[in-house]
Amino acid sequence: MSDLLIRNARLLEPAAGFDEPGDLLIRDGRIAALESPGGFTGLEVQDTIDAAGMVLAPGLIDVHVHLREPGQTYKETIATGTRAAAAGGFTTVVAMPNTVPVNDSVESLEWMLAPERGAQVHLLAMPAATLGSMGETLSEYEALAKAGAVGFTDDGKPVLEDHVMRAALVAAARLGLPISQHAEDTRLTGGCSMNAGVVAFRLGLRGMTVEAESKIVERDIQLLREIEKADKLRPHLHVQHVSTAKALIAIREAKRQGLHVTCEAAPHHFTLTEAAIEGYNTNAKMNPPLRAEHDRMAVIEALLDGTVDCIATDHAPHAAHEKEVEFERAPNGITGLETALGLASRVLHREHGLPLARILALMSAQPAALLKLKDRGTLRPGSHADLVLFSPDWEWTFTAAQSLSKSKNTPFDQAQMLGRIHATISEGRIVYRD
């Protein structure tokens, strides 16, 4: 593979807290070496990028995306979804299993991860925690792990039954993998389409309470405690898209007690509130729903204090005709890959003072650690050359129609973004360039 030299960049290695000007050399898809500016001399390289004024950081890692293939390729394909990922600076994405059919077997997992699918960036997958994501019978964790599973989840639905969740945590713990839980007590959310409260009442929509989320989180944490005691195992619970102050309190306390809990927060939950639904905007409908301002602030607080381990988009493409319906009938989910860095920079960095290095840690080094990816999410020589090159202070306006995703269902059309991505490099290949 060809060599590539990136010169005069601001090299930002979030894991090591390294933030200095320098040059980076890529060779054979790996990071070959770092040097101070102009440090590589007498080198013959095939391609050079002058990155003056730009940050060069590890490519972003998203532990939660929906790529809709197989079965719903009118919404997205692995090729289009990963192209959108590249445009958003992501070099690794983890595909959720709620495809049609559900990704719950070695056969479907291998099909998804096969090169023929045309993934533009490194593709990983979490297969279903239970067969068909029906919440009853565990899928074959050991065989799935051998085939590349990085965890198990019934995302979109919770693993609701106590004994099934317990068995899932135990089986995954034996393989050193997380159970990634969509925390929603669906017994409390039937017919609900947004957050419970004053806005839902005024709009005449049934609302999901914050307890529907926190009760499952609290139950799962209790299961971790029991399993650690009874089974001498150390299960890993990953809580997806945490959206409530109440669930975050439980997670913070569990971490303090030393339990192996990680969690993710989505850009829409730290950027928007339920007010975005006003006018019945189906592009502001997702699950968990946009919450009240104090919950949004609690998510930001948890990102600042380290309770949240990573930022994940929950990229969930839907066709226009599916969203152009009555609010209660519209499917949940919004696209998010191309707006994640821009929103994180704007909201967390500019508005709340989180250092850029911390944002990048939340979007690369920490999800890499969560997934136990040893040679991604870092600029360390020898690692995969998964990189993102961007101007951190560049303000721009996102236009949904220009998205590379097949679907344009985003509440961030015409929203202000901070940080413009110029190039994304996956294993040494330039997969996006603006």
């Binding site: 409260g197 004053v198 005449g204 019945y280 609010f327 209660e328």
Partner: protein
């Protein structure tokens, strides 16, 4: 909460009372009073040659008939599409149904729908003036306007205009299934802005505290007798038996606690105006003799429904003022 959220829809639309600033409410009342003095032939010339579609996804007697009669009295041509006898049954979307009606020449659509927010969707998709004739648990704006006109007239107040103190000193008690009621929401979001004190009454399951957020000044009083004792207007809401089913109180207890009976009315509110948007279930939320009694304004409400809806149609076509 901003009282008048920006309204991106056709200006002739009426989707929510929240899109109506007080002066516009006054204008609607003024036009209504004025049109009530017009001769039938004058009225009939107002919208001659215009086409109006009534799109009904739910059954309706009062609202549908009054909109239809209002449109016809103005000389417009109407067509009724209901979910039971149209391509809606075959799965046609609201968007496509709206576009089809527009292509057939409909210039305004009156929509009754079981999903909250459906009128917003239809207005966005068609760009036409859409009149919300009741959407899910959300709103029934024409009902709130006709209730307002009924109150003003029966209380001897000025019904030709509206301002921030039109209903100053008037306490309106709305009782029953507030949670599922679009009538309650529209009234609770409109009347306080005209100076009324709105008190909501009902058991917690049918009246959650979130209702306080409908409008500044809205209050909750769980005890019906105490609420009634303050009432200048007692507005009763229909109770659907199936909604009582999931509650901690049974039907008999509900009647005991919340039915507007003659005895209760005489004891607590002998001079209050009694209103009900219909359909009412006699013997459940309201006693038959109260509905038929001298304090009742129920038939007035129906009559004013016709005149208010006439104004809303004129407004939809920009023919007002």
């Amino acid at each position: 909460m901003h009282p008048y959220p920006s309204n991106p829809y056709h200006p002739g639309s009426l989707l929510s009372v929240q899109h109506l600033p007080v002066p516009e409410v006054g204008h609607i009342l003024g036009v209504t009073a004025q049109m009530d003095t017009m001769r039938p032939d004058e009225l009939a010339a107002t919208l001659t040659g215009h086409r109006i579609a009534l799109l009904f996804y739910e059954s309706s007697t009062r609202t549908r008939t009054s909109f239809e009669l209002a449109a016809k009295s103005l000389g417009a041509t109407t067509t009724l599409v209901s979910d039971k006898s149209s391509s809606i049954e075959k799965g046609e979307s609201l968007k496509d149904t709206g576009l089809t009606l527009r292509a057939l020449g409909a210039e305004a659509i009156i929509l009754r729908h079981n999903a909250s927010g459906a009128p917003e969707l239809l207005a966005r998709m068609t760009g036409l003036p859409v009149l919300n004739a009741g959407d899910g648990m959300h709103e029934h704006p024409s009902q709130a306007l006709l209730d307002l006109r009924t109150m003003l007239l029966r209380l001897g107040l000025d019904a030709t205009t509206a301002h921030e103190s039109s209903l100053k000193g008037v306490t309106v008690v709305i009782t029953g299934d507030i949670r599922h009621s679009r009538v309650a929401r529209s009234n609770a979001m409109l009347l306080p802005r005209l100076g009324a004190r709105v008190v909501l009454c009902g058991p917690e399951e049918l009246l959650p505290v979130e209702a306080l957020g409908l409008c500044e000044g809205v209050e909750i009083e769980r005890d019906f007798d105490r609420a009634l004792a303050q009432a200048d207007v007692a507005m009763m809401l229909r109770i659907q038996k199936e909604r009582i089913a999931g509650l901690s109180l049974d039907l008999a207890q509900y009647i005991e606690g919340y039915q507007l009976s003659s005895e209760r009315l005489a004891a607590n509110a002998p001079n209050a105006l009694v209103m009900h948007p219909g359909p009412m279930i006699r013997g459940l939320e309201i006693a038959g003799e109260v509905a038929d009694g001298p304090q009742s304004a129920i038939e007035d409400q129906v009559r004013h429904g016709l005149s208010i809806r006439r104004t809303l149609l004129v407004r939809a076509f920009g023919a007002a003022s």
